[in-house]
Symmetry: C2
Subunit: 386 residues, 2 copies
């Protein structure tokens, strides 16, 4: 059989779950992982241990793969171009991926496309931050325009590389890494949404229902699919926006568009991710085709699967590590308490605050579905003990 080989760079939980989704598809899955202990390396047969920052390692890995895709956005752009020059399809390709790697490039491109974003500007030093903030101060007031958000254009995730800056003195820290810094207005949002779409090389695209994402301490806590009380109009706008971004940027695979819903009923793009994304984990148990299966189908240019929900409500809650390193007893308890609970563990050592898994619940009553997910995640973390 000519079933192809998908090579995935990065051994985290996204690769682990992509492998899981690839098994029924009959594809061969090959992994480039930093260590044999990484989440995906524990469960994949064909693993190369190596450093994705080394081009020779990438080239050796790519040999025998029909397509290369990614668990993270950190592979250097020039290496991706080298693989493409070698004739290996890289999906998403470097010209698309750079928009998920570099927030400065992303903002500039979205501006070109007229896609609504928070007010933003690349800033060169703390004085420039003060000027950027002042530009945002309401006219005729004496406000200084703070707080504003500063982000290093590369390398941040889950609240890392992001600062809420309330004064010029606060603004020194983000410049210390020597990476360009993007300033953004602090949006007074009503809530955060995510519009997830999948696009294939021949241009087929599917849109998942727009979800609500609730953050705690800068980390995604729960995702509700679909976003409650979202007007059809705004949901449609968000889906269209994500499909347009996927097309204009030439994305292949899963694209997560993280959005702010403003208090006056608009959506603004917060972040882009070009890979399966935490805001799409609900789809494993809540959609006809999961984001992981559709990502695999897209990078292989196979027809995409139906993204529609299977339940009225699906809730995903992230399981973070707590103080107690052994989750197995709590895990057993959660299974006993809720036989419908869908647990997804990543095989990672428990450390306080580390994402080590997630749970999905679904049903007709949102309050009940939310309670079940939150209870399980809290119990696994150890913040709920009964």
């Amino acid at each position: 059989m000519t079933f192809p080989v998908v090579g995935m760079v990065g051994g985290g939980q996204l690769a682990r779950m992509t492998h899981e989704a690839g098994i029924p598809l009959g594809i061969r899955f090959k992994l480039l992982s930093d260590t044999p202990q990484d989440s995906a390396a524990q469960v994949v047969s064909d693993v190369v241990i190596g450093d994705y920052r080394d081009l020779d390692t990438l080239r050796d890995f790519a040999r025998g793969c029909d397509v290369i895709t990614f668990d993270h956005e950190h592979v250097p752009t020039e290496h991706l171009r080298a693989l493409e020059a070698d004739g290996i399809p890289v999906r998403p390709g470097p010209d698309a991926l750079v928009h998920a790697q570099d927030k400065g490039v992303m903002r500039a491109k979205l501006d070109d496309l007229g896609v609504p974003c928070p007010r933003h500007r690349i800033v060169k030093d703390p004085a420039d931050v003060v000027a950027f903030a002042a530009e945002g101060a309401p006219e005729g007031t004496e406000g200084d325009g703070f707080p504003v958000i500063l982000k290093t254009v590369r390398g941040g995730y889950d609240g890392k590389g992001v600062w809420v800056v309330r004064s010029a003195a606060d603004a020194a820290e983000p410049f210390r890494a020597g990476v360009p810094v993007l300033a953004e207005e602090m949006v007074d949002f009503a809530r955060e949404l995510a519009a997830n779409v999948v696009r294939s090389p021949h241009g087929q695209a599917v849109a998942y229902p727009v979800v609500e994402s609730r953050q705690v301490d800068g980390v995604c806590d729960t995702v509700i699919a679909p976003a409650p009380d979202l007007s059809d109009e705004l949901a449609g706008q968000a889906q269209e926006l994500a499909l347009r971004v996927a097309q204009e940027l030439g994305v292949v695979g899963h694209l997560a568009v993280e959005l702010f819903e403003t208090r006056d009923g608009r959506v603004l793009v917060n972040e882009l991710a070009m890979r399966p994304h935490n805001s799409g984990h609900w789809s494993q148990d809540g959609a006809v085709t999961s984001q992981f299966a559709n990502h695999v189908r897209a990078v292989l240019d196979l027809p995409l699967g139906d993204p529609r929900p299977r339940a009225k409500w699906t809730v995903m809650a992230n399981v973070l590590g707590g103080d107690y390193p052994d989750m197995y007893t709590a895990y057993l308890h959660c299974m006993a308490r809720d036989p419908q609970l869908k647990i997804h563990m990543y095989g990672k050592d428990v450390k306080p605050g580390r994402k080590v898994g997630h749970v999905n619940t679904y049903g007709d009553d949102l309050d009940e579905v939310l309670d079940r997910a939150r209870h399980a995640a809290g119990y696994l973390r150890g913040t709920i003990t009964e």
Copy 2:
């Protein structure tokens, strides 16, 4: 974390799908496979290549496993006892498993329990078969009681090791292997059903909806969940029967009880399988918890998951190999035709008549759900070309 290691003996598709189901559970999965090309060996990280008939190989494999379970029933009973004597939990254990290994032992035990079975007897030669057949001839007729079914008590599957015998001359062949032969009446059944249950060591058990299984040439073709037009009473009887067999035989893990539904509305036990089973594949996409996930939970003595269906109707159709060795183009076509189709490929080389995968479909309209599954399976095999 103390997440345990499940060792599975046998590298077939059942092990492949059990590994898939174990990934979200966070357990470690270890495989003993005949070759690195076996279906499961392609997708599991921790694979030992070896012969399950060799006790030393089994012992080496079992070291570091928290429990041993099986993709097939062929491990010699004395080896299982040796592993248990070494202190390794074997689930299902040898005392249970022998009933799935030896049809003679199974029939004797079910007789003891008063579980309804086809009329049967161990026969010693063709003359004995003639006598057995005659005992079943309707009183006062001149019929000879043929046809009858002959089965070798060990080693048969998918119609192999099973003969429909119409005369004394026909009856020579089954005795050639030198294995004891079981004669059974040929039941004039209305249809075949399967009652699938899962039982854990501490005695928790769950019952899946009773399904209808349709065979073509002795091989399972389609499974419909739940069995259409089955009375609640007979469905309940079948589930109770399976739960009782699981308990009385001390089964741990998934138990498939293949049943004949007679034309006068009774159920008779045809076969037992103590592992995930083809008649339960629908549960991957059609039930809250799949048979594979529940098998893993059971062998680890974890609380079992909800076995209830997620859709009104789910249909599984086996994909058999056809004349054309490359299925990929047909596979792509099936995905394009039906974005809701759930394809499960086993990574096996296509050979005519070989099970190389299955498809699941679900929905509210049984005719439509059946058509979609049959079309996809037929198209993949090459018997439907449009």
